[in-house]
């Protein structure tokens, strides 16, 4: 790094002030929003360049808070109707006042629909992968078909499965199973092929039987792939459970609530549901990521530095 960059560079702030001034002449509200954005961005740019300790956490945090602030400011300054876009504070209020409803919806959609479906679908996919792993013929036939089906719009099966299994959680579980099965299967089959011939030969010289080889060698080497599948499927599971509720549900559940509140134009409540969905999705993904770090600490992608 040359000495030039260490000296504070006043050209950029000057340009920015000019930009804000020009925008002010057109629309003072836009100028305020632009000014806040530029100041926050400037702080982030300095933090990122200097590599301050903690910047890894601080920079995204500032960025997220800036977005929320800008959203709030835009809604207030332009007096956007709450029917179109509620302010973050309005969403927070809706969240706080409706916690009982939100909790009931969370239990119905996530705990009764998405999670059992996720566990069933991923479990069945891994077992199927183990079964077809023993046959080269099936691998060659099932992998292309599985890859193909994994790319298809499986959410579309939701109306059919709701028709078959009724409005209750069982139809949601079925949709989730259908959605997560193939992505998980493809990843599991791929993972089981990961151990090298040399490693397998080594197990052979130890006189390890199939199950010993499976548990001591092949499942551990498959773990990165399994976790990749689990992480992809965590979002798919929530999407499946919520979308299935658009096609019919008891009078509780996140998809049901979104559908109803959109009809009543209560957007703050809809966004509160989305916040719940976002928290649940990030939580599930985070759990999987933690488990991955804990179980596959040996994998190159987990090494630090």
């Amino acid at each position: 790094m040359s000495a030039l960059t260490l000296r504070p560079n006043w050209a950029w702030p000057g340009v920015l002030i000019c930009v804000v001034a020009v925008v002010w002449a057109l629309d003072w509200r836009l100028a305020i929003i632009a000014a806040v954005w530029l100041i926050a961005w400037g702080i982030n740019a300095i933090l990122a360049r200097n590599g301050t300790p903690g910047a890894r956490i601080l920079v995204p945090l500032i960025f997220g808070l800036t977005l929320l602030t800008l959203w709030e400011m835009a809604v207030r300054l332009y007096e956007v109707s709450p029917v179109i876009l509620p302010a973050p504070t309005a969403i927070a209020v809706a969240f706080a006042t409706n916690t009982a409803t939100l909790w009931a919806d969370f239990v119905q959609t996530i705990l009764r629909g998405a999670l059992p479906g996720y566990a069933l679908g991923c479990g069945a996919a891994v077992l199927t992968a183990l079964a077809i792993d023993r046959s080269r013929f099936l691998q060659k036939g099932l992998l292309p078909v599985g890859n193909f089906i994994a790319a298809l719009p499986i959410v579309g099966t939701a109306p059919i499965l709701v028709m078959w299994y009724g409005f209750g959680p069982s139809s949601k579980i079925a949709v989730v199973v259908a959605m997560v099965f193939f992505p998980m299967l493809v990843n599991a089959v791929q993972g089981l092929k990961e151990s090298s011939a040399m490693q397998r030969d080594l197990m052979h010289t130890y006189a390890a039987n199939y199950w010993q080889t499976l548990f001591k060698l092949r499942l551990p080497t498959a773990l990165p792939f399994l976790f990749n599948g689990l992480k992809i499927c965590s979002t798919l599971a929530l999407i499946g459970a919520i979308v299935a509720e658009f096609f019919g549900s008891p009078t509780v559940g996140m998809g049901f609530r979104i559908k109803i509140e959109v009809g009543r134009l209560a957007m703050d409540m809809v966004w509160a549901e989305i916040t719940v969905a976002a928290l649940a999705g990030s939580g599930l993904y985070g759990l999987m990521a933690l488990a991955e770090r804990w179980l596959t600490f040996w994998h190159p992608s987990q090494r630090r530095g």
């Binding site: 961005w41 982030n44 740019a45 933090l47 990122a48 360049r49 910047a55 890894r56 920079v59 995204p60 500032i62 960025f63 997220g64 977005l67 029917v83 179109i84 876009l85 013929f137 099936l138 691998q139 060659k140 036939g141 099932l142 292309p144 078909v145 790319a151 298809l152 719009p153 959410v155 579309g156 099966t157 109306p159 059919i160 709701v162 028709m163 078959w164 965590s234 979002t235 929530l238 999407i239 919520i242 979308v243 658009f246 096609f247 019919g248 998809g255 979104i258 559908k259 959109v262 134009l265 957007m267 809809v270 966004w271 549901e273 989305i274 969905a277 976002a278 999705g281 990030s282 599930l284």
Partner: protein
């Protein structure tokens, strides 16, 4: 010949088994209704009668594969795309081509928007450290959100602003195709190793030259892998965007009306049309990918 037996035969066998299971399931699931009807009319029926009836019910719980195939044929080849109404040519809502087109147009528009935005963002992430540190974590976090839950809101909001038709749907598919492109492109732009970058430094290449001559070509294989994921996601996005608003046309609307009126054959044919669309889109991208990589000499 060996290629056929080696690669295609297993796939054919698996597909055959799936179709066989489907037939068996259709028989099992539709039998109850057939028996019930026969009992109500006090008819004596043989096992073969039961079998034929389960294969040709009007509103089966699970339509047999040939019923879906016939419905697909009738609504694509059997119906004109346009029909005359009140003296002018109007789109024919009974034609599945028309519904597919209604879904494909926003999908493709959204895919193009999403891809362009994704590439732009990826380039700025690779070249700007502040951008990388602030945007990337949120881009990843946004994927843990079931974005499709937002689809109804986006549609309603844009309706309120006065945007109807193509644009709202394509914004949702743009959002869904956007993320895979960002991740793949960032990975691709960063794929040149230290040695390659050093080589360019010895040529005293500028940042722009490094970008055009090294980073961009290196990112192409990653980009295509992402594009194939992105276009499938874009199609799902459009279909789901059609669900909550009561759209009248499009494959999603077809699913929804089919589910309202219990028209299972219609649902299945819409589902297959969606699957065919997704497969064709991915295949087209695959062909472009192969042609491009071959021209670039990256073909393996």
């Amino acid at each position: 010949m060996r290629r056929i037996t080696g690669a295609i035969l297993p796939v054919l066998v698996v597909v055959g088994v799936i179709v066989a299971i489907w037939y068996a399931a259709a028989y099992n699931m539709n039998r109850a209704w057939t028996l019930d009807q026969a009992e109500r009319r006090a008819l004596e029926i043989t096992a073969s009668d039961v079998f034929t009836d389960t294969m040709w019910q009007e509103r089966p719980r699970l339509p047999a594969p040939h019923q879906v195939a016939i419905e697909l044929w009738n609504t694509t080849a059997g119906e004109p795309m346009l029909r005359e109404r009140r003296g002018e040519l109007r789109p024919n809502p009974r034609s599945l081509w028309f519904h597919a087109f209604q879904t494909l147009a926003p999908t493709l528009l959204g895919f193009v928007i999403g891809t362009l935005a994704g590439m732009l963002l990826a380039v700025s992430i690779v070249h700007n450290r502040a951008m990388d540190m602030s945007v990337m974590p949120w881009a990843i976090a946004s994927q843990t959100i079931p974005i499709l839950a937002i689809a109804p809101i986006v549609i309603v909001v844009l309706n309120a602003v006065g945007l109807v038709g193509l644009v709202p749907k394509s914004l949702i598919s743009a959002y869904l195709s956007f993320f895979p492109v960002v991740v793949g492109m960032v990975k691709g732009l960063r794929s040149p190793g230290a040695m390659d970058l050093d080589l360019l430094r010895t040529y005293s290449a500028s940042r722009a030259e490094t970008f055009w001559k090294l980073r961009l070509p290196a990112s192409v294989p990653f980009l295509f892998a992402s594009l194939k994921v992105g276009i499938a996601a874009a199609l799902v996005g459009t279909i789901v965007a059609e669900l909550p608003t009561g759209a009248r046309f499009g494959l999603g609307a077809r699913l929804l009306t089919g589910s309202y009126y219990g028209q299972t054959i219609q649902i299945w044919s819409a589902l297959f049309m969606a699957a065919i669309c997704a497969a064709v889109l991915v295949m087209i991208l695959g062909a472009i990918e192969r042609a491009t990589l071959k021209r670039m000499g990256l073909d393996r």
